[in-house]
Symmetry: C2
Subunit: 219 residues, 2 copies
DNA sequence: ACAAATTTTTAGTTTTGTCTAAATATTTTA
DNA sequence: TAAAATATTTAGACAAAACTAAAAATTTGT
């Protein structure tokens, strides 16, 4: 498999996982930042290799082989992200770009050893689950901070948007995975929140709150 | 730069470093396991980019930009090799292939952090020097074990041949970098050696002895 | 339901890196 | 030094992955 093929497979997986039922040529072209005609070409090729189901004009989906392939690439990507943060001291907004390259390195043994070095982590630095060797995929059914009622307490377990801008905003405000947070007040007008985060009070917009995954805890 | 361009640059550097004055199209083709015509094409391209000096029918050499590029690739390759052995527990015969892939990852910061994680190593697992950030290249003027006189003691500091077969042979006989060795006897007939290596006596052929770099020590 | 708008595919071109076969240049040797 | 052998380059082709422009299919709106 070429890097390009792997990137297409990954993109299809992510679109499907984002709840899109029919993945259109255009949607995939946009995700891949390429032209629809290039997508058509690639789908023909991936279809011939048995990685996707593809019928002209009818969208695309992964075969089971394609799904296994996608999970293995995502596993590599996320393990490398953990490595970059835990072992090399990168911040969580810097790792995606480098992991995009590292995920294409071919060596089963390398990934197994890396997994071991990192102590078999189950989540990457953004809180996304790391598929296991056999593709077991821990789907997190987390809530968004914006969905919690006033007064509830929760642990920050992930981010929905993992763009560098958002992550840097979180860093600046000392919001990190594992933080304990409590909702003190919700502003009716704009749905912004006053929260307590690790002893400190903070005011955050609705947009922020709806991009933070949390897990409710009892007090 | 593409992976392929980087591989050509590296190959030219290694040939030049092996003492070959004029690097011919054929020699490079053989090293790269490709056809001479492909080499000619690539030389035209690398020449346009200012990485090599190239005149038709007259061989090729690296420009200073090309040399800097080669050193940076070799630095990455060797640092990754150290990582694979030291941190992931690979044996020294396994690392080359994986490092061939990892050396193409683009991120200055990644390499600096890796260097730091590994404690700024000066040699790779085969005893080859790791170029510094600015291309400082520690040329080792080591002797071959086969060149030492009888009775002398030395430390094993590197291998000349770093093929997997040779390295696995060394492993099997517990010969590793850092080992102290003493020459007990040289067989006149075939130049094989009886040596003492970390308390153990071993009989090795001339071919083995002339592929081990050593550094003489006083008793 | 049919024209208009949109989406998707096809056809033809480009770039990179490779190849084979043929042509040309250089080196060797007798 | 001229013919033979060898080395190198050129020319033309191919595959992968992209692009543009045009054609075809599908969906939408009235």
């Amino acid at each position: 498999m070429t890097h390009s093929e792997e990137n297409y497979i990954k993109a299809i997986f992510h679109l499907a996982n984002a709840g899109i039922e029919v993945i259109s040529t255009n949607a995939l072209a946009e995700k891949m930042e390429t032209k629809p005609s290039s997508v058509t070409d690639m789908m023909r090729r991936l279809s011939e290799k048995g990685l996707v189901h593809y019928k002209k004009y009818q969208g695309v989906s992964l075969t089971s082989l394609g799904t296994i392939t996608a999970l293995s690439i995502i596993r590599k990507h996320r393990l490398w992200e953990v490595f970059l943060v835990e072992k090399l001291g990168f911040t969580w907004d810097e790792v995606h770009e480098i992991a995009e390259q590292l995920e294409h390195i071919k060596s089963e043994k390398l990934i197994d050893k890396l997994d071991e070095l990192l102590n078999f982590p189950k989540f990457d630095p953004h809180g996304d689950p790391i598929p296991g060797k056999n593709g077991e995929f821990m789907e997190h059914d987390n809530q968004l901070l914006s969905q919690l009622p006033i007064g509830s307490a929760a642990l920050c377990v992930g981010v929905k948007d993992s763009s560098a801008v958002f992550l840097r905003f979180l860093d600046k405000n000392s919001i990190a995975l594992g933080n304990k947070m409590k909702i003190l007040e919700k502003e009716e007008f704009d749905n912004s929140l006053r929260i307590l985060i690790d002893e400190k009070e903070l005011h955050i917009s609705q947009q922020i709150a709806s991009n933070l995954y949390v897990k409710k805890i009892e007090l």
